[in-house]
Symmetry: C2
Subunit: 372 residues, 2 copies
């Protein structure tokens, strides 16, 4: 009786649901495959797994990445996650006051990292088929001479949009003509669950006009912290020197595990598992939104973790954020990803939630919108 | 016959021996213990092992480090190796032009990192019982106001010397009076194989005058890349923000493995294995040097990886380095660790070589000296 009384007197808090976390749920991480990969790594190559190594990373993984991009290993450096790769790249290529083109909206941590480096950011609108290349051309014609253009081509964070083939070609052409570097930041590339895969700008580049970054956070696990850069050999060599000074060498244990995870075939299976789950989740999310929030507009993503949802102009997402939080729902305001602008969008991440949670989460979101 | 002819016509290259590598030989890395630790980490705590986590590191490891230093966890950040910790610390505490006191000789990578940060380095002589505190007091009395003093208290790299208890107390007293921070850089502390362990300056500090760094590179394995800082909570919080911007979170997989390695008891056993091997090696090295190179002077270290060997003034280590290399022996010149000065010392690392290699290596060194 005492137990029941206590229960009844407690305020009922809803179980938290998060559409905020751009991370995989644990059920789509292949823990058993990773156990086997660690065992293989420690058994097959203990000397290189447990030794210092050098700042370019674990050689067999470096070679695999190089081969998968059709380049030789001196074009590749494997780092402690791709944010760290970004930081080295910005240190190498961006000086205080340099113009850098970014997408709007774009990943908040990258924007912050560029600001810290002293970049003069020029934000161009992101459209459903990628960055506004006409606005980009106009900016260049107006005399802005960027050191770098940061582009997330596939299933962009936060918008979920994908850069079209035509715009990829246009960007390459602009980069050649105006001599800037495209930073092709592509952590979600393997997570396409519908539509056709497009060639990377790196693979279409004629010279050193593209530096490419990706990561194993979304295909293996975030806690493994393995990312990489592919670019011109002299740039990679310069970045390797920065990496040596920063940490001698990246995590060899983690990189050796990733390599064995790939070699065993678990990597390809893991990607299939992740894509299947994300595909079902986005279908559930899109269906629930259409049903419960017909006033919201969105483009259903063809891959990745994120959907960008825009509400009518009178919906203030600062207030919506609070109304969601009161209902145990975490979301990220669109304004967190913008240098300035729109107040009526949210980023919904469907990577960390199961389908039941998605249905319940959209219910709470609809209640929150209706309560404003 | 063809085989023998080929052999005979080849020039005979001696098997390379390295007294240059400040790294453990693979036989003193507990590969089986690490396999078991990885399995336990992935089984017991997959969510925190494979998730992003936060920049302060894997919480159970952070708590263990805090407890081992008698502080609460907010005083600790666990990083991707201790060089990375150094870099964050220098970013937080050292501005361009700030005076920083260093030991001479000292670890070359730390000196470089401080120079990159724009520090105005003041090198004080290192004596067999640690930094010359009288010279330090004189420098302070002369009006130099350092932001930081970098001190490697135990089995210093490169000299192998240990800071005495009396000098530890003196440094703390100077730091309090002159309001600078002591950076107690202590990666070798667990590797004492003779003599008595001295309390850390951190443990004797009354306030925030000491920031302490250490690492699992020498007690687990370098490739695991796990280091840490212990310091004032507000400083650690500032460094956590720098770490978030640099890499979101450090390697959770590696930190979780280290935690399980400790929890299983393998860590304590590993330290005993390492100490026993290093003790035998240093005995062999000291014996061989006394026998083959009576003109060389050295202090036998009580722990760690390194012995500093000084030759008579007429021995030029640039020429000696070359003469060693010609005999298949790698050494590091003392001048690599000095801001300026002595040309007649070498650092001999005995961490990566077996006892047979040590005997053979000293033979080659003696031949090289005699050939000058």
């Amino acid at each position: 009786m005492r137990h029941l009384t206590t229960m009844a007197s407690m305020s009922v808090e809803p179980t938290p649901i998060s559409f905020a976390r751009g991370a995989p749920s644990l059920d789509i991480v292949d823990v058993d495959g990773l156990k086997a990969a660690a065992d293989a790594a420690f058994t097959n190559d203990p000397a290189r797994t447990f030794g210092y190594g050098t700042s370019v990373g674990y050689e067999p993984l470096r070679e695999w990445i190089a081969a998968s991009h059709g380049v030789t290993p001196e074009h590749v450096i494997v780092t402690n996650g791709s944010m760290q790769a970004d930081a080295f790249l910005f240190e190498a290529l961006v000086s205080r006051g340099d113009a850098v083109v970014v997408e709007s909206p774009s990943y908040d941590r990258t924007l912050l990292s560029l600001k810290t480096q002293g970049a003069d950011l020029h934000a161009l609108p992101l459209e459903a088929d990628g960055v506004d290349t006409a606005a980009f051309a106009e900016l260049l014609d107006g005399g802005v001479s960027p050191a770098l253009a940061h582009i997330i081509p596939n299933f962009q964070n936060p918008a979920g949009y994908t850069l079209s083939a035509a715009k990829r070609a246009e960007l390459l052409s602009l980069a050649r003509e105006h001599e800037f570097t495209i930073f092709e930041d592509d952590p979600y590339v393997e997570l396409r669950f519908s539509g056709e895969r497009l060639p990377t700008m790196l693979s279409e580049a004629s010279g050193g006009e593209v530096v490419y970054a990706s990561s194993f956070s979304k295909t293996v696990a975030p806690g493994i912290r393995v990312g990489y850069l592919v670019g011109a050999a002299d740039l990679i060599s310069k970045i390797a020197d920065l990496a040596t000074a920063a940490y001698i060498s990246p995590n060899m244990v983690a990189q050796s595990i990733v390599y064995q995870f790939i070699a065993s075939g678990a990597y390809d299976r893991s990607i299939e598992t992740v894509k299947k789950a994300l595909s079902s989740r986005v279908e559930t999310l899109a269906g629930a939104l259409a049903e419960k929030l017909p006033q919201a507009s969105f483009t259903t993503p063809e891959g990745g973790y994120f959907m960008w949802v825009t509400f009518p102009d009178d919906v203030d997402t600062d207030r919506l954020f609070t109304a969601c939080a009161e209902r145990g729902l975490a979301v990220v305001k669109g304004s967190d990803f913008l240098l300035d602008g729109a107040k009526n969008s949210l980023r919904l991440a469907y990577s960390a939630v199961g389908e039941d949670e998605i249905v319940e989460g959209v219910d709470r979101l609809a209640q929150a919108v209706n309560a404003l």
